[in-house]
Every structure is written in structure tokens, then in C-alpha cells.
């Protein structure tokens, strides 16, 4: 056997606030052969990162490895002295951290950091190490491999930093590489590039690796075996094919179920809304500038009464700013927002209490959206009193009703947010918005900070609430499958522009806007081999000349795989309807897009939505 790693009976404890050691990993056992990629998968708090770090004999502050053994090669890592551990780290076992932006030292050049471990361990001379780094940069498909090393971390993008960190880990040819959620902080379209680069070097170099992630679909592309963790215990340890096809453990099955986008229950709840064109919110020509920078440009949007409109886009697309503009938090510089035909003031100051009541904002992060000094009863009671003048027993009764509505026990009314779990806090956050009895709820990434299973439950709750109360949603997300699962209409944003808008059906089948297509194709699918076969961002971009008039050109020009020389870099794209019903901002006709996208997509979509 080529066994490289054997972990047996590993136990790790964390010290809690009372100073008592609480076990967070209870006796983990697994092993790993040379050239294998093993995934540790689980939700937050499952102990996956803790286990991965203990392979380097490292425990984060507050944690302690209390028992078991971790053999890497011939040595028991847990029995090594500090000096011996330092010799192992970066040489025998190397680490790739989750957030490269934080894990790179801001005041040292990239090259210095990439070759540091080779110099510390005396594996290579500085010159050799630099040559090897450049070689790795090239393998990882980094731009300007000869020169990127001279830059500082803040001068390169997040996706590039993540790949540079892989170079940093591989510079010493370690026996084992640990990848700790290396793509979690990235946008999907960047994630796919990074995954592809990782996969390539891992395969070419025959690297033995442990891949830590919460995302089964990502892991399915990378790993040969998957270890499923929950609350510090191994639930299942099987080859990837088996986990995906025939999971043994019920927990694995529930994880799989939560990831698959629950297909919408047909047009059932859409009926009421689409019956008549009852427009609740009408946004026209919206523009927002911060200084000279336009963060939103010429955005039109209609929300019908009782409808759910999804807005998707990556970071920097302006999707959150759009919600803030509707709420009055981001003053608009042009355009108007009508609520039931009545214009909403561009700032908070000009709005009436009734207008405030009708539009409620639910923030992404319930940790910071609930005042830690107030009890849940105070938090929910305030809007009741503020909008409806409810006091005393009536208010208490209504608070209990609201808690029931979001499926929380009435007993938590006296507690403070710090005593609740993430999912509970997000439910309180929703209940507060419902207390106003609003017409429109602006949901800003409300499931993003939550674990998959918890997020799926919140999504389910949102769907139920809409059916019961007939409230409208503007649902903002970076995740197209979440949006597809909840919304009637979908808007795609890219760097402040609305690039595509249409009903949910239009987003099932090509043609799409090229960006939507990229976004859809970048979402990892739960099947092995997806990464190799998916069409997204593969191959180079068609070459184009220097853009002539930069002002009104297509925002997606720099990344568009179907851009046309002489057209896209010369004139502004028109907004027009394509087959399938959606409206796009693109020079291409629906037929052209369909031709370009169809061959890859249709097959895949059948697979997903069958």
C-alpha cells in the first residue's frame, strides 16, 4: 500500500467561554494513499478545517489536540516537537488557505512569499526557487508569469491570489497539500477558473491532497474519496461516485437534497400574480453614482403585486445598491421609483411612514442586523408600535404570532440575539420585516451566510410566507439556482447594468445573454467530470481591437466569449427581446446566441432538470 496519511482516533477540544474544554472533533479515523485527493466535507462547525490543520500538528488559538495519532509518511505528527513541526510544515505538508487576500502578507512581494518555504527549508536556492515559481505560475495559467511575482498582493485579483497560493504550497513539492475551502470566497465565474487550474496541477504532478469544503458539487470535481463530517464526527467515508450515486448515511442524503435546487412547483403560486398587470413597484432609468463612479446605470424594473423578482450578479454588480436605492439608503442620481404609482423620495428624509412600512429591508447578515442589546420582543415590538401603535398585551400577542409565523418557539421572545443560532436569527430578521405588514420585502442575500441545509429551510419559509401573505419579494443573490427556485422573474446584473431580464421560464433554456450563460455554466454541478466538460470560460476570448468610444459600450466586453470585432468595441449594445422571452443588452440576436450556446447547454439542462 502507498498509504501516506493515517489519522486514527483524532480528538480536538476547544475552550469555551467558561474555560471548559469541549470536544469539537471526536475520534476521527481515515487514511489517504499517494496520489489520491480526499475531501473533507461538512457544514460550519463540523470540524473539517480543524481536522485538516491537525495534519500539520496545528490547532487554532483556543483549540487543542487532545488525543489520537496523525501519521504522515513515517512520522506521528502529534508527537513532534515545535522545531520538528516547523520542519514538517511547508515542506512535507503544505497549506492553501481559504482567503488568499488575508493569507498573503500585504507588505511583502508575492515572489518573496511564494518561495519563502523553499528557502526556509533549504530545498532550493533563491534562483532555482524563483525559476520554479515562474514555472508554476505558468502551469496555473496566471497572466504574465515572469512578472507577477514582483507585485504586491493588493495589486492582483482574488482569483489570481488563490492560484498564487497554490504555487506557494507546491514550491517544495510537498508529500501532501491541504486545500482549505480555497474557492469559497470567490465569485462562481472566478471559482471555475481556479478549480480548473488546481485540477490541472494536481493531476499533472500526481499531488496527494486533502480538499476541505462545504460544497459537494465542488468536491465532486476534485476528490477521489469523500469524508462527510458533522459535529466533529465522521458520518460516511466512501469513494466520490458512491457518495453521489448511492449515499449510505442519511445525513449525506440530506446534504445532497439541500443542494439540488428544488424545482418550483410549476405555475401554481404564479397564477394570482400574473393574472393582471398589477404593478407594485416601478423603477425607471435608475442611476446611482458614488463620486464619479456609476454603480448603477439605466436600470428598469417592475415588480408585480405578490410576485418574487430575483436579482443575480457577482460582487460589484450593483445588486445590493439597487435594493438600497429602493429602501432610500442609497440616494439615486437619476431616474425614479414608483410605489403603487406614487414616486418614492430619493432619500430617507422625504418618505412618509406609510411608505416606509410598505417596503421592508432584510439584511444579509442577521448577526449584525439585530441589535445585540435588545431582546427579541423589543426587536419585534418596535415596528408593531411604530407602524401600528400596538402596545402591551396586544403587542405581546402579535409578537408571539409573528414568531409562530417564522416557526420559532414563543419562548425566545425574552432572549437576546447573541443566544440564538444563525438560522434562528435570520428568522427573527424576517419576522421583524413581517411585523410591518409590508407589500414588498427586499431580501439581500438572506441565505448566503447560512449553511446549505439552514439556507434551504429559510428559502422554504420565504415561499410559504409569500403564499400565505401575498407579499412581494425583491430577492438578491449571487446564486442562480437559489433565485430560480424562488422567483417568478429574474434580473441579471453586471457591473451596474441590467444585462438580462425575463421570467423564470426564460432562464431554463438557451438563448441567454452571454454573461448569464457564463454564470449558469459556472455553477458546479453534482456530477463527476462536469469541470472537464462544461463550456464556461474555456478557451480564449475572440481578439478585438482597442475600444473606440468607451462610454456606452457593453459592460461585459472584456470577458465576453462571443464578442464581435468592429461591433462590440465600437457601438453601444441594443436592448432587445430574444426567443424564450427575456430582454437582453447585447448585439447578438437570439438565434446567434442560441447557436453558440445550444450545443453545450441543452444536453446539460436535460440532465439537471429531468
Amino acid at each position: 500500500m502507498n498509504e501516506i496519511v493515517r489519522v486514527s482516533g483524532l480528538r480536538v477540544a476547544a475552550r469555551n467561554e467558561e474555560g471548559i474544554d469541549v470536544p469539537i472533533v471526536h475520534g476521527a479515523d481515515f487514511s489517504l494513499n499517494k496520489g489520491e485527493v480526499l475531501a473533507l466535507i461538512g457544514e460550519s462547525g463540523s470540524g473539517k478545517s480543524t481536522i485538516a490543520l491537525s495534519l500539520m500538528g496545528y490547532a487554532r488559538s483556543g483549540c487543542r489536540i487532545v488525543g489520537g495519532s496523525v501519521r504522515v509518511g513515517d512520522v506521528d505528527v502529534l508527537k513532534l516537537s515545535n522545531a520538528e513541526l516547523a520542519k514538517l510544515r511547508g515542506r512535507t505538508v503544505a497549506y492553501i488557505a481559504q482567503s488568499a487576500a488575508a493569507a498573503f502578507n500585504p507588505s511583502k512581494s508575492i515572489m518573496d512569499q511564494v518561495i519563502e518555504s523553499a528557502l526556509i527549508h533549504g530545498v532550493l536556492s533563491r534562483k532555482q526557487a524563483q525559476a520554479k515559481a515562474v514555472e508554476l505560475f505558468r502551469e496555473l495559467a496566471l497572466p504574465e508569469p515572469e512578472r507577477i511575482g514582483a507585485r504586491y498582493p493588493h495589486q492582483v485579483s482574488g482569483g489570481q491570489l488563490q492560484r498564487l497560493m497554490a504555487a506557494m504550497a507546491l514550491i517544495t513539492d510537498p508529500a501532501l497539500v491541504i486545500l482549505d475551502e480555497p474557492t469559497t470566497a470567490l465569485d462562481v465565474t472566478t471559482q471555475i477558473e481556479v478549480l480548473r487550474a488546481f485540477k490541472k496541477v494536481v493531476r499533472e504532478r500526481g499531488t496527494t491532497a486533502i480538499y476541505v469544503s462545504h460544497d459537494l458539487a465542488v468536491v465532486a470535481q476534485m476528490a477521489d474519496r469523500i469524508v462527510v463530517l458533522r459535529d466533529g464526527q465522521i458520518q460516511e467515508n466512501n469513494p466520490t461516485e458512491q457518495i453521489l450515486a448511492a449515499p449510505e448515511h442519511p445525513y449525506t442524503r440530506s446534504l445532497l437534497a439541500a443542494i439540488r435546487p428544488a424545482a418550483r412547483q410549476g405555475a401554481g403560486d404564479q397564477e394570482a400574480a400574473s393574472a393582471e398587470e398589477d404593478v407594485l413597484l416601478d423603477i425607471h432609468g435608475l442611476e446611482i453614482c458614488y463620486g464619479t463612479k456609476k454603480v448603477l446605470q439605466d436600470v428598469d424594473l417592475k415588480i408585480r403585486r405578490g410576485a418574487a423578482v430575483g436579482v443575480i450578479g457577482e460582487s460589484g454588480s450593483g445588486k445590493t445598491t439597487l435594493a438600497q436605492a429602493i429602501a432610500g439608503l442609497a440616494p439615486t442620481t437619476a431616474g425614479h421609483i414608483l410605489l403603487d404609482g406614487q414616486p418614492l423620495s430619493r432619500t430617507l428624509a422625504g418618505r412618509t411612514r406609510e411608505q416606509f412600512r410598505r417596503v421592508q429591508f432584510v439584511f444579509q447578515n442577521a448577526d449584525t442586523a439585530l441589535n445585540p442589546r435588545h431582546s427579541i420582543e423589543q426587536i419585534l415590538g418596535r415596528p408593531l408600535r411604530f407602524y401600528h401603535g400596538m402596545k402591551g398585551a396586544q403587542q405581546q400577542r402579535r409578537v408571539a404570532e409573528l414568531l409562530e409565523l417564522v416557526q420559532l418557539p414563543a419562548s425566545i421572545a425574552q432572549r437576546r440575539p447573541g443566544e440564538l443560532s444563525g438560522g434562528q436569527k435570520q428568522r427573527v430578521n424576517l419576522a421583524r420585516a413581517l411585523a410591518a405588514e409590508p407589500d414588498l420585502i427586499l431580501c439581500d442575500e438572506v441565505t448566503s451566510a447560512l449553511d446549505t441545509v439552514v439556507g434551504a429551510a429559510i428559502l422554504e419559509l420565504l415561499r410559504d410566507l409569500r403564499r400565505e401573505l401575498g407579499v412581494s419579494y425583491l430577492f438578491i443573490s449571487h446564486d442562480i439556482s437559489t433565485v430560480r427556485a424562488l422567483c417568478d422573474d429574474i434580473v441579471v446584473m453586471y457591473s451596474g447594468h441590467k444585462v438580462e431580464a425575463g421570467d423564470q421560464q426564460a432562464f431554463v433554456q438557451a438563448p441567454f445573454h452571454p454573461y448569464t450563460n457564463l454564470l449558469t455554466n459556472s455553477v458546479p454541478e453534482l456530477r463527476q467530470g462536469w469541470l472537464e466538460n462544461c463550456g464556461a470560460a474555456k478557451g480564449g476570448l475572440p481578439p478585438i481591437g482597442e475600444p473606440t468610444s468607451s462610454a456606452h459600450l457593453c459592460p461585459f466586453l472584456d470577458r465576453c466569449p462571443v464578442r464581435i470585432e468592429g461591433v462590440c468595441n465600437r457601438s453601444a449594445p441594443p436592448r432587445h427581446n430574444i426567443a424564450g422571452g427575456s430582454e437582453i443588452l447585447c448585439h447578438h440576436t437570439g438565434a446567434e446566441l442560441l447557436k453558440a450556446q445550444d450545443c453545450v447547454n441543452s444536453m446539460k439542462l436535460v440532465g439537471t432538470y429531468a
Binding site: 481559504q98 449584525t368 418596535r382 440575539p417 447573541g418 438560522g423 434562528q424 447560512l450 429559510i458
Partner: protein
């Protein structure tokens, strides 16, 4: 806006609940006990502070002798049963003088600190809530005041207005207000950007509600720590002024004055000069120990 890309770095509201993130529906509500746990140093600090707080109120009642009576023949007398802390340069009982000085040293400093912190916090809230030019104006002025070192400012005030007790109080309050303002403003601006404040704004709440109900309760802890630190500075400043002969004037005497009037006793190693100095040191050290055990001090120090 991807999961995990946000690190709630803010000092408040970051519930550490990654151990248990089950969904809320059927999960039993977790309770977290909040205990005020003090280290050994903290307990000692608390005892000292309590003791001096009592003395500040009731000290003069415990005095065994008349503080101004020259009752002993010996100048700079040693420790004895009759005069537990010896006698001073005029043969007065040091213990009694010390106890009579306690209200001056502790009381004046406490009042000055309270004034400084209240003014600082109020100005900070006004600045943070208004923003724009109001904020700029207040901040610039406070920055200018901070640029005059405290002791130099004290000398300037005494030179202009003399050194009566009310003036000393005002002077100390003025000298330490800018520092308090700075910290309170930093905290307030930080809290103002929190999502729960944004929620209140989009609910249509008026500024007073936001300031008093949403923001202020979240500022209490840092402001209280700052209060303790500032109290120590004020005690040291007032004592230093008295030591220079520019603070509390005879016949009243605070602890700084006691050190000054008995400085000649230093050559003889008389307890008269050491006792009041040690009293000041224990008071300030007690407060420091107490603050230290609450933590978060080093951060405050960075902001002066």
C-alpha cells in the same frame, strides 16, 4: 457577497455560534450564561476602588484628629499609635489630613471625569449623527484641543483663571474631553454603520430614537472603560498641579498638596511625604487593575 467572505469584524453583534448552526425551527434555544468573571488582579482592584470610594464620601468622619490642628511637637514624626501615619512639617496628623484630602482628590477628579466623558460622548453623538460639516467642525476643534498637552493646558488655565476648586474641576474636564470625544466618536461611527442602525433608518425612525435606543446601549462598555482610564489621568493631573503648588490651595489640601508641603521630609525619609503619594498610587493602580481585568484596554490606549 459570497458566504464566508464576510467576516463580521465589528466589536459587537458577532455572535460566536458556529458551533451550532442548525436551523431554528425545532432546535432548543441555547442559553449562554453571562458571568462577570474577574481575575485576581481585578478583585484586588475592585477592593481598592471600593475602599477609596467609601473614603471619598466618609473619610473625614473617620479622621482621628482635627486635620488642621498642630497637635504634635514633633515635625515629620514617625509612625506611632497616636499618629498612625506620622505627623507633617507643622506637627499635624497625616492620617487625618489624608482622610480630609480624599474628597478633594477623588471627588474633584470623579466630577471632572464625569463632566469630560459626558461632554465628550454628547459631542461625539452629535458629530456622528450629523456627519458632514458639523462633524468636521467638532472633530477639528477637538483635535486642536488635544494638540495642547494636558499639563500645559492645565498651566494655561491656572495662569488665566487662578486655581479655585471649581476652576480646577472645569480645567480637568476640559483637558480630557477631547480624548473622550475621540474614542466615543470612533465607537459611535462604528455602531452607526451597523446593519441594525440601517434597519432602524429604513423603518423611518427619527434620529433621537436611533441614537438613544439603538446606538448608545452598544457604546456603554467602551465608554465605561474609557471613563476609568480618564479618571486615572485626571487624578494624576490634579495631583501634579497641587504638587507644583498650582492646584488646591491652603487651607484645603488634596493628596498632591500633602506631598508638596512635606517634600522637605524626603531628606529624612518621613512617612509624611510618602503616605499621600502611596495613597494616590494605590487609587490609580486599583482603577487600572479593574480596567485591565475587563480587557480592551490596550485598544483604547492606542487612541490616547
Amino acid at each position: 457577497m459570497k458566504p464566508n467572505s464576510i467576516s463580521p469584524k465589528a466589536s459587537i453583534g458577532s455572535g460566536k455560534d458556529n458551533a451550532l448552526k442548525q436551523d431554528g425551527a425545532n432546535e432548543p434555544v441555547r442559553t449562554r450564561r453571562r458571568r462577570l468573571s474577574l481575575s485576581v488582579g481585578g478583585v484586588i482592584g475592585l477592593l481598592i476602588v471600593t475602599f477609596w470610594a467609601l473614603m471619598a464620601v466618609a473619610g473625614p468622619l473617620f479622621a482621628p484628629h482635627d486635620a488642621n490642628a498642630m497637635i504634635s511637637d514633633g515635625y515629620f514624626g514617625p509612625l506611632s499609635l497616636e499618629f498612625p501615619l506620622g505627623t507633617d512639617y507643622l506637627g499635624r496628623d497625616i492620617l487625618s489630613r489624608l482622610l480630609h484630602g480624599a474628597p478633594f482628590t477623588i471627588g474633584v477628579a470623579l466630577a471632572a471625569t464625569a463632566l469630560a466623558c459626558t461632554a465628550g460622548v454628547v459631542l461625539a453623538l452629535v458629530a456622528a449623527a450629523s456627519g458632514g460639516w458639523v462633524d468636521a467642525l467638532i472633530s477639528r476643534t477637538q483635535d486642536a484641543l488635544i494638540a495642547i498637552p494636558n499639563k500645559i493646558f492645565a498651566l494655561l488655565m491656572v495662569a488665566s483663571f487662578g486655581s479655585s476648586v471649581p476652576l480646577l474641576l472645569l480645567m480637568a474636564a476640559f483637558a480630557y474631553m477631547p480624548g473622550s470625544f475621540r474614542i466615543a466618536r470612533a465607537v459611535a461611527v462604528n455602531v452607526m454603520t451597523m446593519d441594525f442602525v440601517q434597519v432602524a433608518r429604513t423603518r423611518g425612525e427619527a434620529m433621537p430614537y436611533i441614537i438613544f435606543i439603538e446606538v448608545l446601549p452598544n457604546m456603554l462598555r467602551p465608554v465605561m472603560t474609557d471613563f476609568g482610564l480618564r479618571f486615572v489621568y485626571v487624578v494624576l493631573l490634579l495631583s501634579a498641579m497641587s504638587f507644583l503648588g498650582l492646584g488646591v490651595q491652603p487651607p484645603d489640601a488634596d493628596w498632591g498638596s500633602l506631598v508638596r508641603e512635606n517634600i522637605e521630609g524626603l531628606w529624612a525619609g518621613a512617612p509624611a511625604v510618602l503616605a499621600p503619594a502611596v495613597a494616590i498610587a494605590t487609587l490609580t493602580m486599583g482603577v487600572n487593575l479593574l480596567i485591565d481585568s475587563f480587557g480592551g484596554r490596550s485598544k483604547r490606549e492606542m487612541e490616547k
